[in-house]
Point group: C2
Chain length 208, copies 2
DNA sequence: TAAGTATTGACCAGTCCGGTCTAAAGTGCT
DNA sequence: AGCACTTTAGACCGGACTGGTCAATACTTA
């Protein structure tokens, strides 16, 4: 195995290195991320990083692969596609997203900038993995939706958009409100209550 | 005057320098912005930048001042606060924002990152200017709104939020769709039509 | 004890940084 | 034309930081 050395490390140390690397790349993009910062934040010597990984680029690819797997794991198994109610579907998607974000903020942020970053020589197997995740995600959001629930005097596709913008808006609002706090120690109960109130308004307004 | 030299330059050259500087700071934040890039993109010699401005920080402050003035000019004079219809108010605000963005993308982007950037020793007169703009902007959005227009079975403040998230969502959507195009040469007509269609849906759904 | 593995951080050459300064070119007055 | 003054360019400076190497050490196992 290519990453035998790294993956034989004890769990804790592995995680420290991954966290430091995700964070550094997320905050600075590929080019400007500093391997020096990574080793310092991970608490290891400079040499070890290049003992575990061939070079900076190879480390980056390892992280992309890792991040895609994590996200995939969250999304694909937790959304019930039998529910044909669009707002209920969005509710699930939003909760999955927020949970995933709270538990893996660095990974999330990393993938967010990964899309924007002009990635250096991404191997094709990673591009494919990424493309697949996108199409699967799309299916999860829109397949098997009952459009007859909506009031018939408006364009349903536009209402889809409006609902999604509402989801995004609320998520950003919560993230902003919680800025600086450790997400793992936050009680999201009250936030979900508030969220449900918004969903009720959307149903009242957009459904028959 | 401190910036006599710079402001006596012919209009064109001044603008080239401002554009290059706004763009560089916007894309990289204060610390990582490079004066070398700025002079290269502005097409001037390195020495001149430090002939016009004392140093990097002083240039940055000049840009902040300039940007705040530009934004202020757009917003304060073009929104009719006599109109008590919230959606109409948001429509105006969104159009002003998009117009301003299309005509000054660099300035807009610069101010966007300025908020996030931990700004180096911002002089108090600039902080004050900034604070004032924020409160004025708030007034423009929410003062003198007729809340009786809304249906009475929902929380009006939450509907405010939903409408604003819709505005933000549509703006982002358009900006994404037009990515890479020169905004000044785009015909926004069709986009406004589409925008009005969204506003109609919002009125139908959220008003009595 | 000896072989083998894991680990460190000083060190390398190179890039880029903000800022300076010399020398030249341009401008305007007499 | 000659002189004083302003405007311009970019070579250059010390210093910070970069990705990556490597010799020296500590630890583990037999």
């Amino acid at each position: 195995m290519i990453h035998e050395k790294f993956e034989n490390l004890d769990e804790n140390k592995q995680q420290r290195i991954l966290d430091a690397a995700f964070k550094e790349f997320a905050e600075n993009g590929y080019e400007r991320a500093s391997t020096n910062h990574i080793v310092k934040n991970a608490g290891i010597g400079k040499g070890m990083l290049f003992y575990y990984f061939q070079n900076k680029k190879e480390l980056y690819h390892y992280l992309v692969d890792n991040a895609l797997q994590i996200i995939r794991y969250y999304y694909l198994n937790r959304i019930n596609m039998q529910a044909t109610d669009f707002i209920e579907r969005m509710k699930q998607a939003t909760q999955v997203k927020m949970t995933c974000f709270a538990e893996n903020p660095n990974v999330f942020h990393f993938l967010g900038t990964f899309f924007l970053d002009s990635v250096p020589d991404l191997p094709s197997y990673l591009s494919q993995q990424y493309e697949q995740l996108l199409t699967e995600g799309n299916a999860i959001m829109y397949d098997n939706i009952d459009k007859t629930l909506f009031r018939d005097d408006v364009d349903v596709d536009k209402v889809f958009k409006l609902i999604q913008w509402a989801m995004d808006g609320y998520q950003n609002e919560v993230i902003n409100r919680l800025q600086g706090q450790k997400l793992t120690s936050v009680d999201f109960g009250p936030y979900w209550e508030e969220f449900y109130a918004y969903l009720e308004i959307l149903k009242k307004s957009f459904y028959r």
